[in-house]
Amino acid sequence: MVSDLKNEIIDIKKIRKDFPILKSTVHGKPLCYLDNAATTQKPMSVIDSISDYYKQKNSNIHRGVHFLSEAATKDYEGARTTIKNFINAASEKEIIFTRGTTESINLVANTFGRKFLGEGDEVIISEMEHHSNIVPWQILAEEKKFKLKVIPINDDGELLMEEFDRLLSPAVKLVSLIYVSNSIGTVNPVREVITKAHQKNIPVLIDAAQAVNHFPVDVKELDCDFLAFSGHKIYGPTGIGVLYGKENWLKQMPPYMGGGDMIASVSFEKTTFNELPYKFEAGTPDIAGAIGLGKAIEYITNIGLDKIAAYEAGLIEYTVGKLKEIEGVKILGNPAHRAGVVSFVVENIHPHDIGTFLDFEGVAVRTGHHCTQPVMDRYKIPATSRASFAFYNLKEEADILVNAVRKVIEVFK
């Protein structure tokens, strides 16, 4: 149970004022935004940083010697430093800006994958991966003739670690794993996975899209080789994301896209590539997006990821408990460690219908397969309703959700 004390871990009422959209009404009801795993809302400081950039500093980076270009470059690179500190990377060289988690994983597949994966090799993923950590490997596997191996999960929605141990054969050249499941909410034992993989000199990529927004993530402590996340799921803008990679790997990897900014010199005979991280950032990047992401990280760092984790854990526990009390409601998985997400199905009512009814109560949830069709197949369901939380959500909003679910059940009786 969440005591009122827990509500005081963070001054939620004050924090909510920083997010203009949270004042909205939907179908005449106050917005109850519980679709944070799809995308999070943005605080005013992030929104302002984007408009300030375009109003005051708009210019191209790394090119001009003029005042504006230097100012923009300083802010763009400042955001990189903020991100480096946020995940405790060794240097800015290890922080590559991408369009998001999907592009970060595709970058690794297309560079690391092209260089280091071949016929007879294996890549391990898990049954709970988002499609973005399945499809890029499948596409490449077809071309390079390597095999994709899948760590199965149990009914609780947890990895079968003994199966993982069995899969760790000498043929494995990479493990690519989701940190927090976006459809079940499971927090995977990534530290253990990385240790075991490293014992066999296998590098590990962590999809941290649903992790970095919920609790502290330290790449040195994890010792992961790659880590991917998206800006828009961590209170920043869409269209910007991050790939962290250990310098040693990044140096060995060929470039991703060719173009401007990623080169040192170009002639028709030979092109030499720029140093890290620019080797992987071809073309003019999303400068405003990077600056906005930097601001978002400053914002949550000010609140404190430890506090966010503690507050959200209470909120999730409360929601799970309340939903379990409703007859006919079944929660997807029962992981020992859960973050952010509660997925549920209601007997004889399709998630799509639940989603529409909840919308009319002002409640925004996601309904569908959440880009994790193998998880739906695993539980033999077509879809779920998913409530996903952020630190700005209130206990009262969990109650609104629960009451709305009760109402739907009443209508479909």
């Binding site: 399709h350 219908d353 309904t367 569908g368 397969h369 879809a383 479909f412």
Partner: protein
Amino acid sequence: MDAELRELYQQVILDHNKSPRNYRAMEHHNHDAEGYNPLCGDKIRIYLYIEDERIKDISFQGSGCAISKASASIMSSILKGKTVEEAEQFFEKFHNLITGRLSDDPAREDLGKLAVFEGVKEFPARVKCASLAWHTMLSALKEEKEIVSTEHE
């Protein structure tokens, strides 16, 4: 309940969702097709038995929301005994109804039971739910072998 929502989830729709008509696999069918809505994972299979250009029997199976299930159920009860040409005309009418293009059409009077789906036009995200069964039926009529997807709606 909100009026707009009540309009979408009329009692008839809730009834058909609860006890769908013609919900079964048909052993001796001569046309069938599978429909799929990747957005929500809905799947449906339509079976037809066509003789002399007339739908002698129609049934369906699958999983989907109340709107898609009721749509398939009501469609099956309407089309049983109709000619292939009539079925195609009904498809046209139904499609215009749920996309809000039928407002002043004199044809709306022939809609019969289908009229309960008029509320769908206020919910663009749900048009695919209502039309999945119909697209699949049309595909079964033409005996197209590939899986029908609503993504071309």
